[in-house]
Amino acid sequence: MPRPLGEATREAYGKTLVELGRENPNIVVLDGDLSKSTMTKYFAQEFPDRFFNVGIAEANMVGIAAGLAASGKIPFASSFACFVMCKAFDQMRLAVAYSGNNVKIVGSHGGISIGEDGVSQMGHEDIGLALSLPGFVVMVPADSAQTRAAVRAAAEHTGPVYIRVGRPKAPIVYENGCHDFQIGKAITLRDGRDVTLIANGLMVAAALDAAESLEKQGISARVLDMHTVRPLDEEAIEKAAHETGAIVVAEEHLLYAGLAAQVAMAAAKRCPVPMRFVGLYDYAESGAPDALMRKYGLTADDIAREALQLVNPRHRVAV
């Protein structure tokens, strides 16, 4: 049964910024002419003096954010995930990561679920780029409630943070709020013995759905919401590997450098077990979001199939 849809994570981001702005006069927000899409427009409306729309100039935006942070402000700088990470990567490297400036980057329209606008607007590799920068906390919240918690945690954390949020309405995972959210602490959404499904972002709801369908086939799947890709909760991964003996990682991102690669490295280090991966190997295309998720193998069925192949050799097929 499909989970009810909540608000988009970008919507939750925009609303949380306003709350933070009311609580802390040092919160400032920058955007690159996408405030109506990243939802920083709410902050702009309430705090025009603390909002800087720098126009379509992401490198300059991140540089300005670094200067604001160096002067005691807590800047949140936003654009689409692909634009802010790709176009301002050098600025993020030198002026934010290497300098240790307290800049928060929030990339919206992450992943391929933005749909019809197509590849040039989709964040396929944003998380990998953020992960390659030492010192960056990297988070991919699953739904609206978790986004609120993650954005608040980012504001409280001293140091660079990247958060990916998405365009479409997100299935509700935390219907009663995400109250015990902690940076770097995975959330066990469902316990299980036979396999662990590790996911973040939209793939968390898909992993829960996959676990339900696996249960019907007699397979007990643990589901870990790995909202923080760095610092990674290696203990939860080790425990999952040790206790369930198999791991499937699912992410809406290129598999070369994202959650899957990080989890695989942690498992290899701490407790190697058979693993399978659900994610992208290439750029996607234009299309309806749901159709894209199906075509590019980012559904509950895809996760369940990989899990089956791991835990039941009879299902194993050549890939």
């Binding site: 300059n60 991140v62 604001l68 160096a70 030198l94």
Partner: protein, 277 residues
């Protein structure tokens, strides 16, 4: 404009000569680095730090009310280290550790390693945006500090410079001053041959900046321009300083061999002789 200052031009020129000696010496000891662009910039840095222009406190480099200086053309860091030592931010002995492992004297400015450095630079084009962020923060906090950013002429080929130029003018930051070290050479050759930035004054004016052109080695003109930049206005200002790459050392002047090559021991001795008081 009438300039009232109690700093003697002669004293500043003497200081600049001493700092030139420090620059060539630290580069010779390091065995690598960028003499040309350090020597073209040093007169301006000397005026900024010792001409009663900038407010700073070497005992508290992070003093909130301080004026900020960002060396966006980070490869000229020997010039910055020389003024930081002269101003008392770092011990003079540190100059002779330039580029050495286990020291804070990084080959390009690093804020993480030296708190007296305002911004990590060296990937060209970034410093003006960072300075703009600091200038905006001053406005938000009702602070009166001014932000100075030195950019290079080759660096002005970077798109980010013009993004920042557009934004600084749009945001009407009167407390931001850029200084263009227009020494007319970049790594690969003469700037007019590699990628011309002319007409540079017209460009900055078109972007909405107050522009003043000076001889970047004439201490009187530098001081006058820095006082001019401090006048209250609702637009950013830029001093286009015409300079000579390698200025002060005969065989380095306009000799682009010394863009990124340290002097040998023999060259150092000759340079020091030419720069003697």
């Amino acid at each position: 404009m009438l300039v009232t200052t109690d700093v003697s031009i002669e004293q500043l020129e003497k200081t600049a000569r001493k700092l030139r000696r420090h620059i060539v010496k630290m580069l010779a000891i390091a065995g690598s680095g960028h003499p040309g662009g350090s020597l073209s910039a040093i007169d301006i840095l000397t005026a900024l730090f010792f001409g009663n222009i900038m407010r700073y406190n070497p005992r508290n480099p992070r003093w909130e009310e301080r004026d900020r200086f960002i060396l966006s053309k980070g490869h000229a860091v020997p010039a910055l280290y020389a003024v930081l030592a002269e101003a008392g931010f770092i011990p003079e002995e540190w100059l002779w550790q330039l580029r050495q492992i286990d020291t804070p004297m990084q080959g390009h400015p690093s804020v993480k390693d030296l708190p007296a450095v305002e911004a990590s630079t060296g990937s060209l084009g970034q410093g003006l945006s960072i300075g703009l962020g600091m200038a905006l923060a001053a406005r938000l906090d009702n602070k009166t500090y001014r932000v100075y950013v030195m950019i290079g002429d080759g660096e002005s080929e970077e798109g980010q410079i013009w993004e920042a130029a557009m934004a600084a003018s749009h945001f009407r930051v009167g407390n931001l001053t850029a200084i263009l070290d227009y020494n007319r050479y970049q790594l690969d050759g003469a700037i007019g041959e590699i990628m011309s930035i002319a007409p540079v004054v017209a460009k900055w004016e078109a972007f909405g900046w107050a522009v003043r052109e000076i001889d970047g080695h004439n201490m009187r003109q530098i001081l006058d321009a820095l006082h001019w930049a401090r006048a209250p206005r609702e637009q950013p200002s830029i001093i286009v300083a015409h300079t000579v790459k390698g200025k002060g050392v005969s065989f380095m002047e306009n000799n682009n061999e010394f863009h990124g090559k340290a002097p040998t021991q023999a060259e150092l001795e000759q340079a020091l002789a030419e720069l003697a008081d």
